[in-house]
Structures are given as C-alpha cells and as structure tokens.
C-alpha cells in the first residue's frame, strides 16, 4: 500500500465536500474509488472495516473521511481529512443560511429543495449497495445487509443494536473461522 502526502488527502476530501449532496454517506463510492482503486492507499477489506468503524462511532457521517485520514497518515491525516471534508460544505451552508434567512420560504429554493431530496436518497441507496459489495461478506453478508435495512425501515430499534446484531449473526455463521 502506498502512502499519500497531506496535500493529496486534503485535495481529495475538499473536492468531495462540495459534491456530497444529501450528506456524506453518498460519498462512499467516490471515496472507495479514490482511496482503494485509483491510489491504492488502503486495500478493499481494510476500507470495508474502516467503514464499519465509522458507522459504529456516534456522530455525523463525515467520519469515514476522518478515519481514512487517520489510517493512512495518523493524527495529521485525521485533522487534515476532517477539515477538508467539513470546510467547503460548511462555508457554503454558512452563506446559504444567511441568504435564506432573508428570502421568502415559498421561493424557487424551496422547490429546488423538494426536487433534489429524492436524488439524494437514491444516491444514499447506491452507497448502501456498493458498501454491501465492499464488505466482501458473501451471500450471508448480503442477507444481513438486507435484514438490517428492513429493520431500520420498519422498526424503531436503535441502529447501533441492529449493527451489533448483524455482527453477531455473521460471526456465528462463520463459527469455524472465529474458532467457536
């Protein structure tokens, strides 16, 4: 695995920041492509594991960038990746926030909001599909992903418990590997 400098890391995440329409989770395919396929900073399984850790921690979904930064370049990588993913989109939110406070609520902006939200949802669904592939967990993995999705969709169970449950079921189904 090659190691990047801080600058390529900053460029990558700052560039992604402004296109993360619908939240940072839509970035999963882009980050995977850049970090695993194009630059080879991490192998695909390691990347899948980091995704799992970033989802296990509380907080906003920008954490995948932070943990990738930490994994490839330590504390400096963490700080640079986090600032790079946060700053551009936050500056835009700052400017738009001031703009809309003075604008009429039923303006074109409101219509644009309604129009683009479903696209963001579609992008998040695509992220889920690609993340399920990236996990390299086989058929059992796809089944667990589908089950986890259904649980979040139709029940009020805390997502953290869903994740713990999926992890336990998967580990038990691979009992010979884990030595149980």
């Amino acid at each position: 695995m090659s190691r990047p400098g801080l600058l390529p890391l900053a460029e990558l995440f700052a560039g992604l920041s402004l296109i993360s329409v619908g939240g940072a989770n839509v970035l999963f395919p882009s980050i995977r492509h850049a970090v695993v396929d194009r630059n080879g900073w991490l192998d695909v399984r390691e990347f899948g594991h980091l995704f799992a850790l970033s989802q296990a921690a509380p907080g906003p979904n920008v954490m995948l960038s932070s943990i990738v930064g930490w994994q490839v370049l330590g504390l400096a990588g963490l700080v640079v990746a986090t600032l790079a993913i946060l700053l551009p989109s936050s500056l835009l939110a700052f400017a738009i926030g001031r703009l809309v406070r003075t604008a009429a609520p039923r303006s074109w902006l409101g219509v644009a909001t309604i129009a683009v939200v479903p696209l963001a949802m579609g992008l998040m669904l695509a992220s889920a599909v690609i993340a399920a592939k990236t996990a390299h967990a086989g058929l059992v993995g796809y089944a667990i992903a589908a089950l986890a999705a259904a649980t979040v969709l139709w029940t009020r169970i805390n997502p953290l418990f869903v994740m713990i449950g999926g992890t336990v079921v998967f580990s038990l189904s691979h009992a010979s590997v884990v030595g149980l």
């Binding site: 296109i19 907080g59 963490l78 926030g97």
Partner: protein, 193 residues
C-alpha cells in the same frame, strides 16, 4: 430522518437567544449520543429540550441542509450557530458536535490497529460492514418514504440508485445529469398545478 410532530407551535421557542456555552453543550450532546445517525437526536435537543427553534422552522432548516452538500447535522450546526452567535457560534457548534465522535473514532481505530490481525476481529468487522451498509440503505429508504414521493420523485431516486450502483457513474456526472432532470420535472409539475 426527523419525527413528524405537531405537539409544538411556532410560539413556544425559548425567549432568549442561547449562550455560546448552551450551544456548545447542546451540540456536544448531539454528537456524543447520536449513534447510527444524528438526525433524531438533533431534533430532540434543538426542538424539544432546548427549544432553540420551533418545529416548522427546524423542518425547513433540515430540508435545506439535506440538499446542501455536507453532513446534514454539520450544516444545521453551522446555521444555528451563526443565527444566534455569528460566525464564531458556527465554528463553536461544529467543533462541539465533532469533538466526542472524533475522540471515539480514534479509540476505535487504535483498537483496530492493535487487533486487526486476529481472525475473529476481521470476521466481526466484515459482518459489521455488511450491517452498516444495510443501515445506510434502510435509513435512505425510510427518508424516501417519509417524503410521500410522487412517481417523479420515485423515478429520480431510482435513477440515482441505478446509474451509480449499476452503471458506475461518478457522483459529479450523476449530479450534472440527473439533477437538472429532477429540477425540470419538479418545476413542470408546479407549472401544471
């Protein structure tokens, strides 16, 4: 991601603007306790507990933040911080929001580095990654259903899903192609109505 609630009206927000300390404590709490997505806990703190915003104002703010690039709750932190305490408030709220999650993430990553070679850890994390993928998908599906989408909106979502996950389009291409189509279909609907 937000709960629909009609229990509060616009008149019930807290009378005084929150202090910097109150904002920092509020967003620290949101970051610390927001497992599996911070949306629900953010609404709980901002609307129910602290009463910084009325339900309708918050819903509008979140709708806007969903469309803007960046994590929704980070954008909410920027806008609420700025609204009450200017740009320093915005910086403070984002910092308070990220502090606990980043610290916990570093702990997890350190533990991972120590134990990544063990088969049981690798197997568990593979299962966790599959589960996490399901969480993302389930959350997206729930948000989509909450919108009570018409056929245009469903088609938009499916188009985004298809071109990225099947055709492998980049995010930029997808936004540039599907985005304008989504906008046009929405404005066409409004013009027809």
């Amino acid at each position: 991601m937000e709960e629909e609630s009609t229990s509060r009206t616009d008149g019930e927000t807290s009378r005084e603007d929150p202090t910097c300390g109150a904002l920092a404590r509020g967003f620290f709490r949101i970051g610390l306790t927001g497992f599996g997505g911070v949306g629900p806990i953010a609404r709980d703190v901002i609307v129910e507990r602290k009463r910084w915003l009325a339900e309708a104002d918050y819903a509008r703010l979140v709708g806007l933040c969903q469309v803007l690039p960046g994590a929704n709750t980070v954008n909410v932190a920027v806008m609420i911080g700025d609204r009450f305490r200017g740009w320093k408030g915005a910086v403070l709220c984002v910092f308070a929001l990220m502090l606990a999650p980043i610290a916990i993430l570093v702990l997890l990553a350190t533990a991972y580095a120590e134990m990544a070679d063990q088969p049981i850890v690798r197997t568990a994390l593979t299962g966790a990654a599959a589960s996490a993928a399901g969480l993302v998908g389930g959350t997206a599906a729930r948000m989509l259903i909450r919108l009570k989408p018409d056929w245009r909106q469903i088609a938009t979502a499916l188009a985004g899903l298809f071109v990225v996950s099947v055709l492998g389009w980049s995010l930029v291409t997808t936004l540039l192609v599907i985005g304008p189509i989504a906008l046009l279909s929405r404005f066409a609907k409004r013009a027809a109505a």
